[in-house]
C-alpha cells in the first residue's frame, strides 16, 4: 500500500482523497484536520442561507467514510505533531490547508471596535470556533469593502430579514441580534470599476429577490463609463438602476473608491474613501467588514511565500504536494477544487513511490501515545447528528461553536 496524508479536510482535501482512492487501488489516504469537524470553508465560509451549496458536504461525508480513507479530526500539523513526523509515516504529504488569514487594508483605524475582517465576520456568522462572537451595536449603516463574492455574502446576510433565514443554519440567537440592528443602509464599496468586480453574476442578481432590501448604485454614470465591454455584472447593475424599488433597507454599490481610514473615537463612526481625481468622501458606519482576500499560513516547518506555497502544478518537492487555496490563493470555487483534485490525483497515482511506511496505523499510534484526542469519522458523525437534533424547527442545524462543546458530545 502507498500511504498519502492530506492536511486539511476542506473541499480540496476531500475531493483529493476521493480522487486518489479512485485513481489507484493501492493508495490509502489519511485526512488530517485541526478542527474536530471537517469540510473547511463549506462549513465555515459558504453562507448559512446557501444550503444548496453546502449540500456538497454529503459527497465529502461519503469520502471520509470510504474504505481506504481515514479521518483524523482535532489533529493540527505543526502543533500535535511535526511535519517531519508526518512525512516519516507517509509516502506523500499534501497541504490542503486553505488560506485562513484575512488580508488587512493597513489603513488607520482598522483596529477600532466595529471594524471586522471577513474571516472574523464570516467565521462569526458561521460559528467557527476561532471567530469572535459577533456583538454589534446600533448598526444603522454598514460598509462592506471588497468586490468579490465574500462581500456579497456579507451584504446579503446583513440585508436579509429574519424570516429569510428559515431553513438555514444561521443561529437563531445571531439572527435575532442582526434583526435588532436599526439597519438602513449597506454600502458595498469597490476599489476598481464595476466591470472589474469579481462578483458571480447569479449572486449579484440574487439581491433582486430579497424581501426587505432594495439595490442602488451610488454613481450610475460609472456603469456607462465602464466601457463598451459588456459584462453580465454590469447588465445586472443596470437592471437595478432601471427598476428601482422601495424597501426599508438600501444596499448601495460604490465603485472606484479607495478606503483611506476608519474613523471614530471609541468605536467606528465612519469610513473615508478617495475616489477618482482625488475626490474624498466619508460614509457613516457603525460596522465595517473588509472582504479583500486571504493568505495561507505556515504549516509546521513549511512556510508560504506571498500568501501561497510555491509549487509546480501542485508539486512542492519530493513527496510533498499542495492543492486548493494553499496552492493558488483565495480565488476559485468548490467545482474548481474538484477539477484540480482530479489532475493532482492522476499525477500522484503515477509518481508517488511505495516506501513501506506505516501510514494511518502509525499516525494513530503516535497520536494516542501523545494523548491527542482524535475525532475519527464516527466521532464527527455524532457531532453532526447532535447539531441536527438540537436545531430549532426552522433551522437545519445548530452548530457547536467551541471545540470544547464538540468534544463534549463525544464524551456523552
Amino acid at each position: 500500500m502507498r500511504h498519502v496524508a492530506i492536511i486539511g479536510a476542506g473541499p480540496s482535501g476531500c475531493y483529493l482523497a476521493d480522487q486518489l482512492v479512485r485513481a489507484a487501488p493501492d493508495i490509502e489516504v489519511s485526512v488530517i484536520e485541526r478542527l474536530p469537524v471537517p469540510f473547511g470553508l463549506v462549513r465555515y465560509g459558504v453562507a448559512p442561507d446557501h444550503q444548496g451549496t453546502k449540500a456538497v458536504a454529503r459527497l465529502f461525508e461519503r469520502t471520509l467514510g470510504a474504505e481506504r480513507v481515514r479521518f483524523f479530526g482535532h489533529v493540527e500539523v505543526g502543533t500535535d505533531l511535526a511535519m517531519a513526523e508526518l512525512a516519516a509515516l507517509y509516502d506523500a504529504v499534501v497541504l490542503a490547508t486553505g488560506a485562513s488569514r484575512e488580508r488587512k487594508l493597513g489603513i488607520p483605524g482598522e483596529t477600532l471596535p466595529g471594524v471586522f475582517g471577513s474571516g472574523a465576520f464570516v467565521g462569526g456568522y458561521n460559528g467557527h470556533p476561532d471567530a469572535p462572537q459577533l456583538r454589534l451595536a446600533g448598526v444603522r449603516s454598514a460598509v462592506v469593502i471588497g468586490n468579490g463574492n465574500v462581500a456579497l455574502d456579507v451584504a446579503r446576510v446583513l440585508a436579509k430579514a429574519a424570516a429569510e433565514f428559515a431553513g438555514s443554519d444561521l443561529s437563531p440567537v445571531l439572527t435575532a441580534h442582526l434583526a435588532q440592528q436599526p439597519l438602513e443602509t449597506i454600502h458595498v464599496v469597490g476599489r476598481r470599476g464595476p466591470a472589474a468586480a469579481k462578483f458571480t453574476t447569479e449572486e449579484l442578481a440574487e439581491f433582486r429577490t430579497l424581501a426587505r432590501a432594495a439595490v442602488e448604485v451610488a454613481d450610475p454614470a460609472a456603469l456607462d463609463a465602464a466601457g463598451s465591454a459588456a459584462s453580465p455584472n454590469l447588465e445586472v447593475l443596470k437592471g437595478f438602476v432601471a427598476n428601482p424599488v422601495q424597501r426599508p433597507v438600501v444596499v448601495c454599490f460604490h465603485f472606484n473608491q479607495q478606503p483611506t481610514a476608519f474613523v471614530g473615537d471609541e468605536r467606528l463612526e465612519g469610513v473615508e474613501f478617495e475616489g477618482p481625481a482625488g475626490a474624498r468622501q466619508r460614509l457613516a458606519a457603525q460596522l465595517a467588514v473588509t472582504c479583500i482576500g486571504y493568505e495561507t499560513t505556515a504549516c509546521g516547518t513549511l512556510v508560504p511565500q506571498r500568501g501561497v506555497f510555491a509549487n509546480e502544478q501542485g508539486r512542492i518537492g519530493e513527496g510533498r504536494y499542495v492543492i486548493g487555496w494553499a496552492a493558488h490563493g483565495p480565488n476559485g470555487t468548490i467545482p474548481g477544487s474538484r477539477v484540480a483534485a482530479k489532475a493532482l490525483a492522476a499525477r500522484m497515482a503515477a509518481e508517488v513511490a511505495d516506501h513501506q511506511r506505516a501510514g494511518a496505523v502509525g499516525l494513530a499510534t503516535l497520536l494516542v501515545q501523545r494523548g491527542v484526542r482524535i475525532v475519527d469519522h464516527g466521532g464527527w458523525q455524532r457531532i453532526d447528528a447532535a447539531e441536527r437534533t438540537r436545531a430549532a424547527s426552522d433551522r437545519c442545524r445548530e452548530k457547536f461553536t467551541s471545540v470544547a462543546a464538540m468534544l463534549q458530545v463525544m464524551a456523552q
Partner: protein, 157 residues
C-alpha cells in the same frame, strides 16, 4: 437492458447519484456503464448499444456543467441523426435559481430531441434546496424508468 449513464457535473453530486443509479440498475438485472463526460466525449458515444440516462446538473445562469460543453457543441455542430437513441433525464438543480431551474438538463434534452432522439418518460427534476436527496430518489426513479423503457419496445428507426 444495456444502459449507459452520462454524467454532467460540476461539484460531483451527479456523479454520486449516477453511482447509486448504477447499483440500483444492476440490482434490477441491467447491464450498466457510467461515463463522466469530459473533453474527449464526442457524439459517437450515442452509437453505443442500449439506452442512455442523462444525470446532469445546472450551473452559471442555466448552463450545462463545464464537462458537457464539448459534447454539446459537437452535437450542435455535427447534428448527427439520433433517431435510434432512447434516453431519460435526471436533472439536478436548485430552485434558488428560480429563472433557470434545471435548465442544464432541459437544454440538453431539447438538443437530443431536436436530433431525433426519443425521451422515455418525463424529466425527473431534483431541487438541491428541498429535503429530497438525489442519491435517494435517483436510484428509485431510474429503476422505474428502465421498466418504462422495456415496456416501450424497440426503437422504430
Amino acid at each position: 437492458m444495456r444502459i449507459t449513464i452520462l454524467v454532467g457535473t460540476m461539484s460531483g453530486t451527479a456523479e454520486m447519484v449516477a453511482e447509486e443509479m448504477e447499483d440500483a440498475l444492476r440490482g434490477a438485472g441491467h447491464t450498466v456503464e457510467t461515463l463522466v463526460l469530459d473533453d474527449a466525449s464526442g457524439p459517437e458515444l450515442f452509437t453505443r448499444d442500449g439506452a442512455f440516462v442523462l444525470c446532469m446538473s445546472t450551473y452559471g445562469s442555466g448552463n450545462v456543467p463545464d464537462n458537457v460543453i464539448v459534447l454539446r457543441d459537437a452535437l450542435e455542430a455535427d447534428r448527427p441523426d439520433l433517431a435510434q437513441v432512447r434516453y431519460g433525464v435526471f436533472a439536478l438543480g436548485d430552485h434558488t435559481y428560480q429563472d433557470t431551474f434545471c435548465h442544464g438538463g432541459e437544454s440538453f434534452d431539447r438538443l437530443l430531441a431536436s436530433l431525433g432522439a426519443q425521451r422515455i418518460g418525463p424529466i425527473r427534476y431534483n431541487d438541491a434546496s428541498s429535503s429530497e436527496l438525489p442519491e435517494d430518489v435517483g436510484p428509485e426513479w431510474v429503476v422505474e424508468w428502465a421498466e418504462a423503457l422495456a415496456a416501450s419496445g424497440e426503437p422504430v428507426a
